[in-house]
């Protein structure tokens, strides 16, 4: 046989060559919306503590006037107050690559601009995770363990919020399983006014994918995989809430011009060269925190996972 076969030229070809393209592995990459239902605390710079107490005051219509006779002395009214504690903590991520890895990097995934983009997306994902991990704890709940989420659950939640005097707009941070159970309820129940509404039809045919889903039944919806489970993983526990339920904070650290650092918004990105080992680190630091503030401003939605 004198034919030149690929299988016979092992010294002239490699078994596989890396493509110049790459695909991102699956992950939840959506940042939380800048929604009015989320309270963003003030900048922690120069505060004197990594923990702040956010006061709650019963003013602006909290106490109504009482009727008195013409010359009776006005009775005093107690001022109701409360507070929530918000602490920021350090969050960080570090990649470290050897010089040789950087030399042979074909796709460019070790380039500083790529790692900077990764830092930015990861920082926002961390904020989303912190906030989503609070929606399962509200005292008020709707839905049932082991039962698919439904339109009735959503209506119950908005009713609960309104009865508790929570001001809209409401934000729903839920697991995609909960969202799609409700969408199925929209699609499969025939004849109800809700199912036949334009909003419901838009929801049922909405583009798939995590993140912002639009408004439906008076709630702006956001889906994320970070929504916690309940009942030992049997259920998901998302939340629907108005302003005052959840607060978050970040403490920006300005980049030092004398160091290889740059600010990506409030996050600090820096490179760290270790000459003795010929490695270069790419780090991102952020100081973040989130807390539940007024419990009654939110409702936890428990439904089958």
């Amino acid at each position: 046989m004198t034919q030149i076969l690929y299988s016979n030229i092992g010294d002239l070809a490699t078994s596989e060559v890396l493509s110049g393209d790459f695909l991102l592995l699956l992950a939840d990459r959506n940042a939380l919306p800048n929604h009015p239902a989320l309270y963003k605390a003030e900048d922690f710079s120069g505060m004197g503590s990594s923990t702040i107490k956010i006061p709650q005051i019963g003013l602006m219509g909290y106490n109504k006037l009482t009727s008195e006779t013409e010359v009776a002395s006005s009775s005093t009214v107690a001022l109701t107050d409360g507070s929530a504690t918000l602490a920021v903590s350090r969050y960080t991520k570090r990649y470290e690559a050897s010089d040789l890895a950087r030399i042979v990097d074909k796709q460019g995934f070790l380039r500083t601009d790529v790692l900077t983009m990764d830092a930015f997306v990861s920082y926002n994902a961390t904020i989303r995770d912190l906030v989503a991990n609070l929606v399962d704890n509200f005292s008020s709940t709707v839905g049932s363990s082991g039962v698919d989420g439904s339109i009735e659950d959503i209506l119950d939640a908005t009713a609960t919020l309104e009865i508790a005097a929570v001001q809209g707009p409401f934000l729903g941070i839920v697991h995609p399983r909960q969202w799609h159970d409700a969408v199925k309820d929209v699609a499969l129940n025939i004849g109800g006014a809700v199912q036949l509404s334009g909003d419901a039809q838009r929801v049922a045919t909405a583009m798939a994918g995590l993140g912002m889903k639009g408004s439906f039944l008076g709630v702006d919806w956001f889906t994320t995989l970070d929504v916690p489970t309940a009942n030992a993983g049997a259920d998901r526990a998302g939340g629907i809430f108005g302003f005052g339920a959840i607060g978050w904070a970040e403490a920006p650290l300005p980049a030092d011009p004398d160091l290889p650092q740059a600010n990506i918004g409030p996050a600090l990105f820096e490179k760290d060269r270790t000459a003795t080992t010929a490695t270069t680190g790419a780090l991102v630091h952020g100081y973040l925190g989130a807390t539940e503030m007024i419990d009654a401003c939110g409702v936890t939605w428990v439904s089958d996972a």
């Binding site: 299988s7 990594s50 923990t51 409360g82 507070s83 929530a84 504690t85 918000l86 602490a87 920021v88 903590s89 350090r90 969050y91 912190l130 991990n133 609070l134 399962d136 704890n137 005292s139 008020s140 709940t141 049932s144 363990s145 082991g146 039962v147 009735e152 119950d156 129940n189 109800g192 916690p228 489970t229 309940a230 009942n231 030992a232 993983g233 049997a234 973040l288 925190g289 989130a290 807390t291 539940e292 419990d295 428990v302 996972a305």
Partner: protein, 230 residues
């Protein structure tokens, strides 16, 4: 180069005139790739807590619907501890108490479950802490509940770490289900599973309320007489 199988039959069963062959076993160069550990993403440890208003009907019983205090710095007032990897819960616990929430000690586990903690790590998944009542499986990104033992765990807490639900809580839960059943019967007649579930839950709640009536202790007060000029 692997041989191409063209005969699969055994010579003992060889029909007359057919070409003989031998058994063929495909061979593979590559070793099996892949990680067979569960594919769980990192999850912080947590403490369960109960809330006076949060109850549910689960497996025919009225049980607390527990929340989770995530032991993660930056969440709910939790801060980083002095020892690397530890957390400081001082502010978080104050916040919890102000919200009338009851922390369930991590060792409050039914003796029959033979565990020192209601939390568990998962082999092959660093940074993952799950409930003792969740089951992790190779290759799966989600856990499955151990419902029987979870219900036992919740039952164990009632009266020990979590006070039994107040009468008003049971009444509210009952009221919600009665209304929901009425709505389902008038608008979702075909949804028999929902109606049946609600009827079962109503029965459970009524039985629980009957038990409570004897123990009920409403808040004390005194007679209110409005001042009215005749």
């Amino acid at each position: 180069m692997p041989a191409t199988p063209f005969v699969t039959s055994d010579s003992s069963h060889q029909p007359a005139g057919a070409v003989a062959g031998s058994a063929f076993v495909p061979s593979e160069d590559a070793e099996m790739r892949g990680n067979h550990a569960p594919r769980l993403t990192p999850r912080a440890a947590f403490y369960y807590f109960a809330q006076p208003e949060r109850w549910q009907v689960l497996e025919g019983k009225v049980l607390p619907l527990l929340g989770k205090m995530k032991l993660r710095a930056g969440v709910g007032g939790v801060t980083a501890g002095r020892v690397p990897g530890s957390v400081n819960l001082r502010a978080a616990k104050v916040d919890l108490e102000e919200k009338r929430r009851i922390l369930i000690p991590v060792d409050s586990v039914p003796p029959a479950h033979r565990a020192k903690s209601y939390l568990s790590t998962v082999d092959g998944c660093p940074g993952v802490v799950i409930s003792l009542y969740e089951k992790a499986y190779p290759g799966l990104a989600e856990t499955r509940p151990d419902t029987k033992r979870w219900v036992e765990f919740l039952e164990y807490q009632v009266g020990r770490t979590v006070p039994a639900p107040g009468e008003h809580v049971l009444e509210r839960m009952l009221d919600e289900r009665v209304k929901s059943r009425e709505r389902a019967m008038s608008h979702e007649k075909r949804n028999t599973s929902k109606i049946e579930r609600l009827e079962q839950e109503i029965e459970v709640l009524r039985a629980e309320l009957d038990k409570r009536v004897e123990m009920a202790e409403p808040v004390d007060g005194s007679a209110a007489v409005p001042m009215v000029e005749e």
